[in-house]
C-alpha cells in the first residue's frame, strides 16, 4: 500500500481525535459553501431560463424619447419602420402599471389585440376576446382569490370603476412571465389609461433575419432620432447583468462572512498549538520526512475542505432545485409581493463550480500547510524543544 494512502488514514485519525472542534469547523464551512453554491445555482438557472424564455421576445422594441424621458410614440412611426427592408411586422404596444397599495401589489397591464387563435399552452381559459374581458397571471389570481368568470373592478385615474370579466388565468408554470400580468383588450386598456388614439407606449418590431437586428436598429435611430430601439440581445444582456448584480450583492455580503471564516481558520492554524508542534517533532523523530509531514497536513486540510465543498454544494443544489430556493428567497425577492415561486431547472457551470471549489479548498489548504511548514522543515529536536 502506498505511503500516501496510509498517511491519509493517519490524517483522518488526526481529524477524528479532535472531532468536536473539527465538526464545528466543518458545519460553519459547509453552511457558507452551501449558501454560496445556492446563490450561484440560482443565478445560473435564472439566467438560463431568462435566455430561453425571452429568445422569442420582439426583435426590437422602439421607444420614443422626449427631453431624455420615455414618452408615448406615434403609431405613424410604425408605418415608417415597416418600409425598412428586413422588417416583417410592427405592432403598437399599449401597456402600463397599476398599483394597489392595500396589497402592496404593482400590476403590469398589457393590451392585446385578439388574433386567430393559437391555443396557448400555459393559459386556462382564453385571452380577452371581447371588450370587458381580461386574463390574469396566477399570482394575481392567487392574491385576490380570482377564478375564471369572476369579475375584477379596477378604478381608473378619473376614479371611475371599470369591470372586467376574467376570461383566462395563466398557469403557475408561466409565473416567471405572468405573475403580475393583467391582459386586457387594447381598446379597453387605451381607454383605461386614456392613451389617445394614434399613440402607443412603444412599438414591437419583428424581422426576417435576426442577424440584421443591429443594422435595423441603427437605421431606425438614424431615421427617427427621437427614438430608442432596444434589441433582443440588449434585453438578454440586461438580464445577465441584473442576475450578476443581484447575486453579486449577496455574494459580497457572503464574501465578508467567508473572509471572517478565513481569518478564523488562519488564526487557528497560524500559531500551531504546542500539541500539534510536538506531534510533528515526534513524527520526524520516528523517521517521517518533511514531505511526509506536509502530506499529512495537506490531507488533513483537503479532507475537511473537500468535505465542506461537497456537502455544501450538494446542500445548495438540494435547497435550490428540490426545495425551490426558499431560504434565499428574501434576498432575491426584494419587497415584491408577487415574487414567483421558483421551479428552476439545473444549469451547471463547471467553471463556476470549479471556482467555488478553488475558493473553498485552496485558502484552507494554505491555512493548514503554511503554519506547519516551519516545523515540518526543522530538525525533530528543535521542534520538540520549542
Amino acid at each position: 500500500m502506498t505511503p500516501s494512502l496510509k498517511i491519509l488514514d493517519y490524517a483522518l485519525a488526526s481529524l477524528l481525535r479532535r472531532k468536536y472542534k473539527h465538526l464545528a469547523l466543518l458545519a460553519v464551512y459547509t453552511l457558507t459553501v452551501a449558501v454560496l453554491a445556492s446563490v450561484l445555482f440560482m443565478t445560473q438557472s435564472l439566467r438560463q431560463e431568462a435566455e430561453a424564455l425571452l429568445s422569442t421576445a420582439p426583435a426590437l422594441v422602439v421607444q420614443k424619447l422626449v427631453g431624455g424621458r420615455h414618452d408615448l410614440i406615434a403609431e405613424d412611426y410604425a408605418a415608417q419602420i415597416r418600409t425598412l427592408p428586413g422588417v416583417r411586422g410592427v405592432e403598437a404596444r399599449i401597456w402600463g402599471y397599476y398599483y394597489d397599495s392595500l396589497y402592496g401589489v404593482n400590476l403590469t397591464l398589457l393590451g392585446w389585440t385578439s388574433a386567430q387563435g393559437e391555443t396557448l399552452e400555459l393559459l386556462r381559459g382564453q385571452l380577452p376576446q371581447q371588450p370587458g374581458d381580461c386574463a390574469l397571471g396566477a399570482g394575481v389570481a392567487q392574491t385576490y382569490g380570482v377564478e375564471i368568470d369572476d369579475s375584477l373592478v379596477l378604478v381608473d385615474q378619473r376614479n371611475q370603476s371599470r369591470i372586467f370579466r376574467v376570461s383566462g388565468i395563466f398557469s403557475s408554470d408561466s409565473q416567471l412571465l405572468t405573475q403580475d400580468l393583467l391582459v386586457l383588450g387594447n381598446a379597453d386598456l387605451r381607454a383605461f389609461f386614456e392613451i389617445p388614439t394614434g399613440l402607443a407606449v412603444d412599438l414591437a418590431v419583428q424581422v426576417y433575419n435576426p442577424r440584421e437586428i443591429a443594422t435595423l436598429a441603427a437605421k431606425i435611430r438614424q431615421q427617427l432620432p427621437a427614438t430608442r430601439p432596444i434589441a433582443r440581445s440588449e434585453i438578454l444582456h440586461s438580464y445577465r447583468t441584473v442576475f450578476n448584480w443581484r447575486s453579486g450583492m449577496i455574494l459580497s455580503l457572503l464574501l465578508t462572512a467567508l473572509l471572517a471564516f478565513a481569518i478564523l481558520a488562519w488564526d487557528r492554524a497560524s500559531g500551531l498549538g504546542a500539541a500539534e508542534k510536538h506531534e510533528i517533532g515526534i513524527l520526524k523523530a520516528l523517521g517521517w520526512t518533511t514531505s511526509d509531514v506536509l502530506q499529512l497536513k495537506f490531507w488533513e486540510g483537503l479532507c475537511l475542505s473537500l468535505t465542506a465543498f461537497i456537502l455544501g454544494t450538494l446542500g445548495g443544489w438540494i435547497q435550490v432545485y428540490q426545495f425551490g430556493g426558499g431560504l434565499l428567497r428574501p434576498f432575491f425577492s426584494g419587497w415584491s409581493v408577487l415574487f414567483p415561486q421558483f421551479d428552476l431547472y439545473p444549469a451547471l457551470s463547471f467553471y463556476e463550480l470549479a471556482s467555488l471549489g478553488a475558493l473553498t479548498i485552496f485558502p484552507y489548504l494554505v491555512c493548514t500547510l503554511v503554519p506547519a511548514w516551519k516545523n515540518a522543515v526543522s530538525d525533530p529536536d528543535a521542534v520538540m524543544r520549542s
Binding site: 498517511i7 481525535r17 510536538h278 523523530a285 523517521g287 517521517w288 514531505s291 530538525d379
Partner: protein, 229 residues
C-alpha cells in the same frame, strides 16, 4: 566488533550568537561498537539529551562530524536522515513522547506509516511486539489511560517496530518505580541478547551500575570526562 556509530568533535550550541546562547555539547568524540551497551552518565543539564539527539540524527551539530556505519551523515539531506532514523535507530524518549489521544497500537504503528508495508503486515508486526512486551491486552486503550510503566513499554514497542540495530534510551527509568525499573532493565537485557546495540543516558545508579552495561562515559557540562573521573 565493528564501529556502528562514530562522533568526532561534536559541538552543539543552541541560540548561537544570542543572549541566551547555550553550549550543550562541547567537543565530544565517541565511538560506539556494534553490540555494545554504552551508558552516558551525568547530572541534569550535563548535555546528555543533546548528545543523544546528535547521535540519533535528530539534531544537526554546530560543528564536528558524525558517522553511521562508516558513512558521514553530518550534512546529509533531511530526507536521508529521516530514512536512517526510521530504519536504524529506535529512540526511547525521557518523556515517552507518545501521542496521548491515540491508542497503544496506533502509537506503535507511527514509524511504519511512511513505509510501503500494508496495513495487515503493520498490524501483525505491532501485535507481535506488543505481545513480547506483555502489553497487547491494552492495544486499543488510549495512551492517556495507561500507567507510567505501561506507557514506557509502548514507547519501547514503538522504538522496536522497525527492528533497528541501535536503540537510544534517554533516562528510561525516570518515571518508574524500582520494580518497573528492574523490569525495564530485563527488557533491555533481552534486546542486547538479541544483538541490539544500546546507548542509554541516565543518572540513575540502578541503571549506571547494572551488569548489562559494557561501558560507562561521564558527561559534565557538555564534555566527556575520562571514565572514573
Amino acid at each position: 566488533m565493528t564501529t556502528l556509530l562514530r562522533a568526532e568533535n561534536l559541538v552543539k550550541i543552541y541560540h548561537q550568537h544570542q543572549p541566551d546562547e547555550v553550549r550543550a555539547v562541547r567537543d565530544v568524540s565517541v565511538a560506539v561498537q556494534s553490540g555494545e551497551v554504552l551508558v552516558l552518565r551525568g547530572p541534569s543539564g550535563s548535555g546528555k539529551t543533546s548528545l543523544l539527539s546528535l547521535l540519533g540524527c535528530m539534531a544537526r551539530p554546530t560543528s564536528g562530524r558524525l558517522f553511521f556505519a562508516d558513512q558521514d551523515v553530518t550534512r546529509l539531506p533531511e530526507h536521508f536522515l529521516a530514512g536512517i532514523r526510521q530504519q536504524s535507530f529506535g529512540f526511547i524518549f525521557q518523556q515517552f513522547n507518545l501521542v496521548r489521544e491515540l491508542s497503544v497500537i496506533d502509537n506503535v504503528l507511527l514509524p511504519l506509516y511512511p513505509t510501503r508495508l500494508g496495513f495487515a503486515e503493520m498490524k501483525r508486526r505491532a501485535t507481535e511486539i506488543l505481545a513480547q512486551l506483555h502489553i497487547d491486552q491494552r492495544r486499543n486503550f488510549k495512551v492517556a489511560q495507561l500507567s507510567g510503566g505501561e506507557q514506557q513499554r509502548v514507547a519501547i514497542a514503538r522504538a522496536l517496530i522497525n527492528h533497528p540495530p541501535l536503540i537510544i534510551a534517554d533516562e528510561p527509568t525516570a518515571h518508574l518505580d524500582s520494580q518497573l525499573a528492574a523490569q525495564l532493565m530485563e527488557i533491555l537485557t533481552e534486546l542486547h541478547q538479541a544483538g541490539k546495540t544500546l546507548i542509554i543516558a541516565s543518572h540513575d545508579p540502578f541503571v549506571c551500575d547494572h551488569p548489562l552495561i559494557s561501558r560507562r562515559l561521564n558527561l559534565h557540562d557538555g564534555r566527556l570526562q575520562e571514565p572514573g573521573a
